[in-house]
């Protein structure tokens, strides 16, 4: 498939949903139309009641009953409308969240090192929430309200031509006023949302730094930092609230002004009588209509505000969708080809996270299948960077990184786990059970494989003693620092990979655990190619080749 066809866009997500659920949309349209028509009836009934009363006639039960029934029906249709709108709105947000999630896979590795995770998570949580409000209480409700206004406007024209024109004249004025408020609101809302994102970002950071905060007694300092962001969000929300509070009373007052002017004009005689004259019944009905025509206008005002507050979110979601994408690697490698020589080769590789600041310059080396190789070099020489290139997270600016003759960054992700066992510096715990830490939710890894991996690293006994064994929900307090490291190894070897990549594995281990790790790794290294950047591991093992970097 052509990748441009897959390009994600917010409006595309929305259109897809509307197309898929056209029946639902149609139903909603029907309900809105029927609801608008039904809601127009009661004032007409009232008009007849008043006109009958002014001529001294009694009111018939049937007339009273009709008034009640139409009121009831209008209410029922209105509720149905709300539920349908929620339904459609939910379908849209679901699709958007799904598309956002699909985008993660397409982002280059550099995105995750440059962007704060909290901000990205905030897209999924806050911004989609705002988008949901945009549909629920925004666009869809606005369409219904606009229709209501048109219906009422038409009715007013039939009762009083003059009043109809009067309303036509002031509506643009009120619209201009609304726009004015929108613009002010938008600015305040945008400041508020970005400040809230900062506020939310502080929580995971604080969690990670708790011990530091405690040992240096920096709780106060951290609270001050937090407060700075909180205060920005507070101030901007106050500003938005001010506009929010002022807008709606202005609209209601305008509606009263229209009624006052109308009544004065209706009581005039002469030419004015032609334009504004009406029966008392009509006057009461029109008062009811005018009261109603400004409710939807007021709603539209609020809905516009909902939409406005979502604009910032839409912009953020859209710019997330616009993030440059990597081309999803599709190259499938025949796993037996992983035995071809050299299995791994770097040729004249130059690479920097910023192209103008290269970390690696013209680096070349080859590794044969079954070899054990240790990369050594001063901190910051780019050893971990070489791993990232081999894992295909980045592509070199010059030269090639090849796995069994294939460019590393073109190998499909799904195959990686069978090819590489990557032991990270620290275990990144996943949101799941202890077993999930090893399998990483990979359905292709059987329970048996999980147990075997745990056994190989010598953790099986520890895990079995846990209250729910492998199904125990993950909690770092369950394991020692060393055991967590062993878990990272179990994760790496669970899928029986061909090549082991060992980051500074001994980093957090004492010598005893290191011995245990060595034992596990020696078992794991059998029939595998091993690339390590831990010089201590080499000191311990003394096997294989050394390559100096930098």
């Amino acid at each position: 498939m052509n990748p441009t066809e897959l390009k994600l866009h917010l409006h595309r997500s929305v259109v897809t949903v509307l197309r898929q659920h056209w029946l639902l949309v149609l139903m909603l349209a029907g309900v809105i139309l029927a609801g608008t028509a039904v809601a127009l009836v009661p004032p007409l009934v009232l008009e007849r009641v008043i006109n009958q009363l002014t001529t001294g006639q009694a009111v018939l039960f049937s007339l009273a009953f009709a008034y009640f029934i139409f009121l009831a029906l209008a209410g029922i249709l209105e509720s149905l409308q709300t539920v349908l709108i929620t339904l459609i709105g939910q379908k849209i947000t679901r699709q958007v969240r799904q598309d956002l999630c699909a985008k993660i896979q397409l982002l280059p590795a550099s995105y995750f090192t440059q962007q704060q995770a909290g901000k990205t998570v905030s897209l999924f949580v806050n911004d989609v929430e705002a988008l949901s409000a945009l549909f629920d209480n925004g666009v869809l409700s606005m369409a219904a309200d606009a229709l209501k206004m048109i219906g009422i406007g038409a009715m007013i024209f039939t009762r009083s031509l003059g009043l109809g024109f009067l309303l036509l004249a002031i509506t643009p004025l009120l619209f201009a006023l609304t726009r004015h408020f929108q613009k002010r609101m938008l600015k305040a809302q945008q400041t508020h949302r970005s400040a809230i994102a900062q506020v939310n970002n502080a929580v995971p950071e604080t969690l990670r730094c708790l011990r530091m905060i405690r040992t240096f007694n920096k709780q106060n300092y951290m609270e001050d930092r937090y407060d700075k962001h909180l205060q920005t969000s507070y101030q901007s929300l106050e500003k938005a609230n001010f506009y929010d509070s002022v807008y709606s009373p202005i609209i209601v007052f305008s509606s009263s002004a229209v009624i006052a002017v109308m009544m004065v004009l209706a009581s005039l005689s002469g030419n004015m009588q032609q334009l504004f004259g009406m029966s008392v019944g009509s006057a009461v009905a029109v008062i009811a209509y005018v009261g109603k025509i400004f409710t939807p206008l007021e709603n539209i005002g609020m809905e516009i505000e909902n939409i406005q507050s979502a604009v910032a979110s839409i912009e953020r979601i859209e710019s997330f969708f616009q993030q440059p994408e990597r081309i999803l690697p599709t190259q499938q490698l025949d796993l037996s080809a992983a035995l071809t020589q050299p299995v791994l080769s770097l040729s004249h590789v130059t690479f920097g996270y910023q192209p103008e600041e290269p970390v690696l310059k013209d680096l070349s080396f080859c590794i044969n299948s079954g070899e054990t190789v240790t990369l050594i070099g001063r901190t910051g020489a780019g050893k971990s960077t070489i791993f990232r290139l081999i894992l295909g997270l980045y592509a070199p600016q010059q030269g090639t990184v090849e796995i069994a003759g294939q460019p590393a960054d073109q190998l499909s992700d799904s195959q990686k786990r069978r090819l590489f066992g990557y032991v990270e510096q620290t275990l990144h715990p996943a949101d799941g059970t202890v077993g999930d830490q090893i399998s990483l939710f990979d359905a292709a890894i059987t329970d048996q494989q999980i147990i075997e991996a745990a056994e190989l690293v010598g953790l099986a006994g520890v895990i079995e003693k846990l209250p729910q064994g492998y199904a125990t929900p993950w909690n770092p307090a369950l394991f020692s620092q060393g055991q967590i490291q062993l878990l990272a190894i179990a994760r790496a070897i669970a899928a029986n990979p061909r090549i082991l990549l060992l980051d500074e594995i001994t980093a957090n281990l004492d010598s005893g655990t290191e011995a245990l790790v060595m034992e596990a790794l020696q078992k794991a290294s059998a029939n595998r190619t091993v690339l390590s950047i831990s010089h201590r591991l080499y000191q311990q093992n003394k096997t294989g080749r050394l390559i100096t970097i930098g």
Binding site: I50, Q90, V125, V252, Q425, S511, H535
Partner: protein, 586 residues
Amino acid sequence: MFRASKVNRRPDRLSTYFLSNSAVLAGIALSGILYNVGLTAGPFFEGQLAQCLIAVMAKEKTVGDMVNLAGLYLAVILLVQASRCLKRFWVRRLANNTARSMRRVLYRNLVYQNPAVLGLDEAGSLMTKAIGDVDACAEGIRKFTTEIFDTGVVMIAYLGMLWYYDARLTLLACLFTPLAYLLAQRLKRPITRSSAAYKNSVSRLNGMALDRVTNALTYRVFGCEAQRDEAYTSQLAQVEKNAVVSSAWENAMQPLYNVIAMTGVLFVLIRGAQNVLGQGWAVWDIAAFTTYLACFSRLALKSSHAAKLFNAVQKARVSWQRIQPQLQPVSVPEAQLDTFTAPASLSVEKLSFAYPHQPPLFSNVSFRAQAGEIIGITGPLACGKSTFGRLFLGEQDYTGRIFINGLDLAEQNNAQLSQLVAYAGHDPQLLSDTIAENITLGEAFDCQPWLTAVALSEEVNALPRGIQTFIGAQGSRLSGGQQARLALARTLARSRPLIILDDPFSAVDPATEAEILQQLRVLAQDRIVFLISHRLTHFPDFDQILWLSQEKVQVSSHEMMLKTNSAYAQLFEKQQRKEVKNDESH
């Protein structure tokens, strides 16, 4: 400032948040009553206007009378809407204040957590709580306060108006309203249940998003991204289902209440018409008729909204119940110690530690240390040497006693402890801020000497923005070794009588390590340093060695240790041999 306000006394009580906003509440009460009582003015004047129109048509009144009436009507509406404007703003300020206070309390709870007690798995749920529940709670308070006036007060005002026009008709017409309440009462449980189910599924979904984003590269390297996306997608379906069910329960009932409450309109139209025609319980004109009908309709609408009041309270209560356990008062220790200038002294007496329900990690550790000493701490696998180091941080209880400069550690609060012990663990725990800020942590001093002390100053000064460089989330823009050295600089800048360094050089190459150790000797002349490590390269230079194991605890010099502790000797010689070989191989 704000943080020192009353909220901190009982942050776990909802009333606290109202009481600390008493001025705002007074404003809300005043403007709210004025607005809601004033709402009856609309129907009253509109009835009078219609009556006046009849009179003008019958030539009983003039256009001038109409102009006066319309003017009065507008003036009253202006006053009422001005009150409304104030009420709206103050109600929102109340919610905004509450959200801010709650966030502060939540954050304070978080920041004073004991890292040894708090499991990191709470990270996701805590974050969702902080985001979702604070906002939902503040929104609940806003709605609740709004509804008290816009439903409660206004209903009383309308009812009084109706009663004034025709008491008997009012009794008859409002007969149906209690039925709506009864129904609302009965439907309490399914509404609460569906709302809670929805909230929980959203919380789970947000947790999954957090996991998906923070571990994105791990999932990528392990080729698990697609599978995680599927899991997220299926949770999305669950959320959608719960949202629709919850919305249906909340909205489907609304017209039902409305229909029941509006049934009385039949009586109003028929008996009211009889009133106008002079055949009823009261004598009405057209003005009375339209005013009564308008007031009744609004009352019926409001009474069906009484369920809305109830829903708002329900929703707020669900959020409040979830958030309340997190909003505990935090006792901040007030006693402080002065910064120490005198040479340090340390005495550890019969120190033992065991995790709950487990055999002791080590027992009866006793030794003394003088200023200027570096003490190497090592031992076999899982001997608890990191735990030993952390015991001095007061995170966990131990038996035995520790004295620093003659002060019993167990009797010191957290603030005092921080003046006695400086610590650097193997996790650098850096803030997403500048290099300078990560060292000073808000204090005013020069960072350069500390950067030099950890052999980082050249690298930092080579950066375009120097010490003002932002290091990214978790220091991600620095290499592992740079992160470790920055954390070390931060610790050394807070030179305390006891400096504990737990495996600080793991990500640092041996040459840099030797350089830093040399600097440390000079810096810590009148301090005591613990160096916890499994690598014994520099242990011969240290003044004392502590060997920790379940079976044996030993404190002596390196030479004595080699002679009397075979495990230590073995470990040392093994590493020594390798280093020699390593040098030869270069």
